[in-house]
């Protein structure tokens, strides 16, 4: 795997609070990486360290093969960054924003810029300060994608966008990522938005990495299971570690199996829980997996 982003034992403390703790992560080149975590999990802090906006307390990060602390204009010209926290040049019109940004990027593509502005339906001669939040995000995207960056980093890009705009935005991103081999890192606390996009998923909670793997593998190994035992059968006190959020209701056990294998998976469950009369195994959506993981981390740390 050729990683375009790598972090090693990345840690950031703000006073006594540790926002990110020993985070090691790799984002493969060409992937759409969904960086998930609840509010306050440390996603934005990680991204800011990657972008050299804040310095890590310890550990290191590499972007496009360069140490993040040495990230300079040459690397930034290959990165598109959109964040809900980023200040916009609000005194400018969209056209002025384009004129301002264009000379900074040798790879600026006027055709793509025109296409994006049409697609986003941005009024070129209106000042950005008069825009709604969604329009501002679109303007930011326009100025961050028009130079065909190799790496696009989106930090909570959907916040404040109405569903229609979100949908357009996601479709636009899908189209772009499909057209060129861009690597996209999307940080979000809401899995719904990135489910359609992501081919890799990383989950962070309380500053620590919980998982990072391809979406397909994640969805392949997570199953929502419901087992009904034969009458008179006792449910054992201890269940396998891979069964998350196990709930007992009479003869019924519901759980999330996080190590399910397509071949022989049901048999493994039956072996672990003898006397199953009826077993239902359903694939899980990314959102359901994320919620199951979030609840597990919250319950068991």
């Amino acid at each position: 795997m050729n990683a375009i982003i790598e972090t090693h034992e990345l840690t950031r403390r703000f006073g006594k609070t540790t926002a990110v703790r020993n985070l090691s992560l790799q984002v493969p080149e060409g992937s759409v990486f969904a960086f998930l975590g609840p509010n306050g999990a440390g996603k934005t802090t990680v991204i800011k360290m990657l972008m050299n906006m804040i310095r890590p307390t310890s550990g290191r990060a590499r972007m496009l093969g360069t140490d993040s602390l040495r990230l300079g204009p040459a690397q930034l010209a290959r990165i598109g960054y959109v964040s809900e926290n980023q200040q916009m040049l609000e005194w400018m019109t969209v056209q002025q924003l384009i004129d301002f940004c264009r000379p900074m990027y040798p790879t600026w593509d006027p055709d793509l810029c025109r296409q994006l502005s049409r697609q986003f339906e941005l009024p070129l001669n209106r000042k950005i300060k008069t825009f709604s939040r969604g329009m501002k995000v679109k303007a930011s995207l326009l100025s961050s994608l028009s130079y065909r960056p190799e790496l696009v980093i989106l930090d909570e890009p959907f916040t404040g966008l109405d569903p229609l705009v979100r949908d357009e935005f996601i479709r636009g991103l899908l189209e772009l990522s499909g057209r060129s081999q861009w690597t996209i890192l999307v940080a979000s606390h809401d899995i719904d938005e990135v489910e359609r996009l992501a081919d890799w998923v990383g989950v962070i909670d309380k500053g620590e990495r919980r998982l990072a793997e391809p979406t397909a593998s994640l969805q392949a190994r997570f199953r929502q299971c419901e087992a009904t035992l034969e009458p008179g059968r006792e449910i054992p006190e201890t269940l396998p570690d891979s069964w998350l959020l196990a709930e007992r209701a009479g003869q019924v056990v519901r759980f999330v199996d996080c190590r399910y294998r397509e071949e022989g998976g049901e048999q493994t469950i039956r072996n672990s829980l003898p006397g199953i009369k009826d077993l239902t195994v359903r694939p899980m959506s990314l959102k359901a997996i994320f919620l199951a993981l979030a609840r597990t981390f919250r319950l068991y740390g």
């Binding site: 972008m51 906006m53 204009p73 980023q86 200040q87 000379p103 961050s144």
Partner: protein
Amino acid sequence: MNLILHLAAWDLRCLRPYLGLWLGLVVLQAVLVGYAPHLFPVERGLVFSLSSFAGWLAVLKICLLAVIVAQLVQKDCTVGSTAFWLSRPVSRVRLLIGKVLFLVLAVILPSLLVEVGLLINCGVTPYDTLRSVPQIFFLALLAVVLLMMLAAVTTSLARAILAGGLAFLGLPLLWFLALGAWSLFFLGMETFLSDEITVARPVPPPSYDTVFVGTALVLFVISGGVVGCQYLTRRTTWSRIFLVTGVLLALLISSMGNWEQLLGTTPPGLDTAILNPAQVGARVERESLALASTRAPLSLFGLKGDKTMVLKGSIALSPLPSDVAAIAAQISAKLVLPSGEHLASHVSQSNYAFDVSRWGGGYVSGERAAALRQTIRGITLLDFDGPVGLHDWELFAFGKDLYDRHREVGMAYTAQVDFLIQRNAIAAMRLEEGAGYDRGSDRAAILSVDTSNRGHSIVHINEIGHRLMQDVRRQVTYLLINRSRRQALVGWDSGAFLSMPPHLSRGFPMLRVRRLRLNFSPPHNGPPIGPDWYDGAELIRIESRDLGWISRSIHLEDLVLERIARSSPEATPTEAGGGTNGSIERE
């Protein structure tokens, strides 16, 4: 370079309304200083209003400059992690260069051009104008860099103002409180309240400027360093620590005094072509000696202290060239009994000689009058030649008990006197409207003459002067002289002035356009002056310039206090000693 220009161009686009306003204020101020004296009539109130307006305009300019710098720096903020430029391929160095380039080209350069135009318009010679350019540029750059420093470590104009208040008002206040506490703790209350004056090392005239220049340079380096540190490292905490340390360092430098005193360098001697110290001697005229009794004030609280006797007398340095005057600036004296026993020591210093800046002051002190008298020998200054003898210097001061015990003994008086040497340039003008004076970059013209008020006369003069930092220790005094009667009146100025740079003209003088309102009044206790006195009178302008110092010893044998004439009782030392300070050390 293209990207730097690109960034500067967009800054210009963003800030053009403010820049328009800035240019307007710069031009308005220049017009006011350069043309107001010609455009407006000789009305005292109006001139004062214009002077006051110019002052407010200067304050407005500084406020606007603060807004421009804060907008410029904080729109691409270096504090925090949300600025737009942080995710763009703009290097920090280029961003900083772009900002500095913008400030130099769009803010400082127009101001510099307008000020240079103003100097030329006011008749300042091209040579002096050229010499002013680095000073104008440095002052503007210093203001800009200081504001940039405050803006660079904060995120909004309000916070920058707060930081400025804390750094430049709060820290100095803390500093002086700490110094006061230190003095009290280590030196004790007695020393703190003492009136004693230590013997000062005379320094060459321009040297006091080193305090201003030193502080300004330190502030410039520190603020430049903070701006550089913040832009290049974006470590705001370090930058703020650097800022506080720098301001404290500047305070330390400004508290230390002159570089010459600090480094112990020997002041350069006088030009022997003007005055050869080996060929002049100091003496006290015995007949001028007088004793006055007074009460020493406790300087800190203004309370009257013990009864004190002050020995006054005329000290002369001779022979002196006709255009040179000597002022006894510091007298370090001791009294010795015939047995050889050291009785007491005393140091007195002249306020006038140690004054920081005296150029353009309308007040004429007794010491200044004494110096003028040396210049216009044989002519009586009607305002100052009263019976009190204000030109006599304070030779010694001692307690009443010492006087009572030793008044009949013939003592020896020895003193080292440090003389401030001044050179006087005299220019005469006919006392009529339109008459004038023109020498290099300095010029003056009489606007009106009014002698109709029962002996009093009022002369309005428009005076333009140009000074650089090194030339500040000069003083101009106007006299009305009636040569046939051998009498003169001193002109007391109650006019107003416009200056560039405003508010800084004391520390960094450059161009000063003054509307003098000279009031010549005969003394109340002297003979009345009729209108005919003015018929033969001419206006003379005496410009005194400090040249340097020389030290001489004086010695008086067989000084019997009881035999010395007593002058008016209960006169304060200032009245009696012509503005000198004194201290007593008893054995």
